[in-house]
């Protein structure tokens, strides 16, 4: 018997997208395979690495631990949606400036997590930054430059607002 598909509507990075998915389609796979948004990375598929973090109605969540059907009718922001047109967001620029990435595999998850973190807490302490990014793994940088980038992003955001 063919698997039943569900018609769902997601607002992804401001654009309304309609897509038909089986119930078991992970949001991460829906974004990558059905919608072609391969900026969202998939590392572990059990919630540990944080690479797949996207914003669901503005809140960071694991897209590998969310079914696309559950997100029906909701707003998703992926790493592709963080920039303002051609201009990178303050968080993106801070990561580039501070060398907060090397291979870049973990970066989309960090960018989404940090974007939400700074929205909630525009001037986090070191400890709050550590707590905020504790659910994202990076195998390259050793985290020091990521922490610098978060503080720099806070500065840039404050300067530009």
């Amino acid at each position: 018997m063919p698997e039943r598909v569900h018609e769902i509507t997601l607002t992804v990075n401001g654009t309304v997208r309609r897509v038909a998915v089986p119930g078991r389609r992970l949001l991460s796979d829906c974004l990558r395979h059905d919608l072609g948004l391969t900026g969202t990375h998939v590392g572990c598929e059990h919630g540990v690495c944080g690479c797949c973090t996207v914003l669901l109605d503005g809140e960071p969540v694991r897209s590998c631990l969310t079914f696309a059907v559950t997100a029906d009718g909701h707003e998703i922001t992926t790493v592709e949606g963080l920039a303002d047109g051609e201009r990178m967001s303050p968080v993106q620029r801070a990561f580039a400036e501070c060398h907060g990435l090397q291979c870049g595999f973990c970066t989309p998850g960090f960018l989404c997590t940090v974007t939400a973190l700074l929205r909630e807490n525009p001037a986090p302490t070191d400890e709050e930054v550590l707590e905020g990014i504790s659910g994202n793994l990076c195998r390259c940088t050793g985290y020091q430059n990521i922490i610098k980038a978060v503080h720099r992003a806070a500065e840039l955001t404050a300067e530009e607002s």
Partner: protein, 289 residues
């Protein structure tokens, strides 16, 4: 890996959810935050024929004060309860425990009630419910029952919630006057399930002597282990109570096991250290309450 196929149901009312669960029986599973269930599906450790997604039942997201405590609805996410000022006032142990549950991003989806039903012996919230003597409200088509914590956790990853039942809320008793709580644990990495963890509740009488001293331990048995240690620490003011003796009494009660993460001896050692620390902190809170 990817989840196995299942029939997906998305009820829009509690009645509809209970009808679907009644119809699917043993083959149906509730999907709440998905932060424990989806990893199990992705790893193909579970393959339910039907998933009943309760994420549209927004009425169940309430966190409300009731006489004697706090009622947390099935759709109240960890992060919501953690940030609730009301919850922190009524029962501070909830916030103390939630900070130790996974990472902030996981807490944005995971639910308090889901964590109770999942009944992981290493999880913090079952220990909180057990320590406080709370209860879980289970609804099925045609009836509702309240199951006290002592009877709710029946084994590792096993709870009293049966086929066809939906846990609609959990009740956490309020902190009594002149009482304090604390939760301490040791995990390999921040946000991991704990190797050992202890929640403590200490209450003082009118003369500010210890009259309640109880702990709940995680990761040292199939279900959260609650130990009453008021006898061991003595009916004395917190400053002269025998907290080390109380911690030894806890160590004598537990039966930890060795696994790839830690030996039984190490878990027993950790539990003793954490019990003393949590009891002392809870006593300090009680003096200031």
């Amino acid at each position: 890996m990817k989840p196995p196929p299942f029939d997906y149901h998305r009820p829009s009312s509690l009645g509809e959810a209970l009808d679907v669960l009644a119809g699917t029986g043993e083959d149906g599973k509730v999907l709440a935050g998905g932060q424990s269930l989806i990893p199990l599906l992705n790893m193909r450790l579970a393959a339910p024929a039907h998933l009943v997604d309760i994420n549209r039942l927004t009425d169940l997201a309430a966190v409300e004060e009731e006489p004697g405590g706090l009622r947390v609805g099935a759709l109240a996410r960890h992060s919501r309860v953690e940030r609730s000022a009301r919850a922190a006032e009524v029962q501070p142990l909830l916030g103390q425990a939630l900070r130790l549950v996974a990472h902030p991003v996981i807490r944005n989806r995971g639910t308090v009630v889901g964590s109770l039903v999942h009944a992981d012996p290493a999880a913090e919230l079952p220990a909180v419910l057990a320590l406080l003597g709370g209860s879980v409200r289970l609804a099925r088509r045609g009836g509702t029952r309240d199951v006290p914590a002592a009877g709710f956790f029946t084994g590792p990853l096993e709870s009293a919630a049966g086929p066809g039942e939906l846990a609609v809320s959990a009740f956490f008793p309020a902190l009594a006057p002149r009482s304090g709580t604390a939760f301490h644990e040791v995990a390999r990495r921040h946000g991991d399930y704990a190797l050992a963890g202890v929640a403590a509740l200490v209450g003082l009488d009118d003369d500010l002597r210890v009259s309640v001293a109880r702990v709940a331990c995680v990761s040292v048995g199939p279900v959260p282990l609650v130990a009453d240690v008021v006898g061991a620490c003595g009916h004395r003011p917190p400053a002269s109570a025998d907290w080390a003796g109380a911690a030894r009494a806890v160590q004598d009660r537990i039966e930890p096991e060795t696994d790839i993460h830690a030996t039984a001896d190490y878990r027993r050692h950790l539990t003793g250290v954490l019990a003393e620390r949590a009891l002392r902190d809870a006593a300090r809170e009680a003096l200031h309450a």
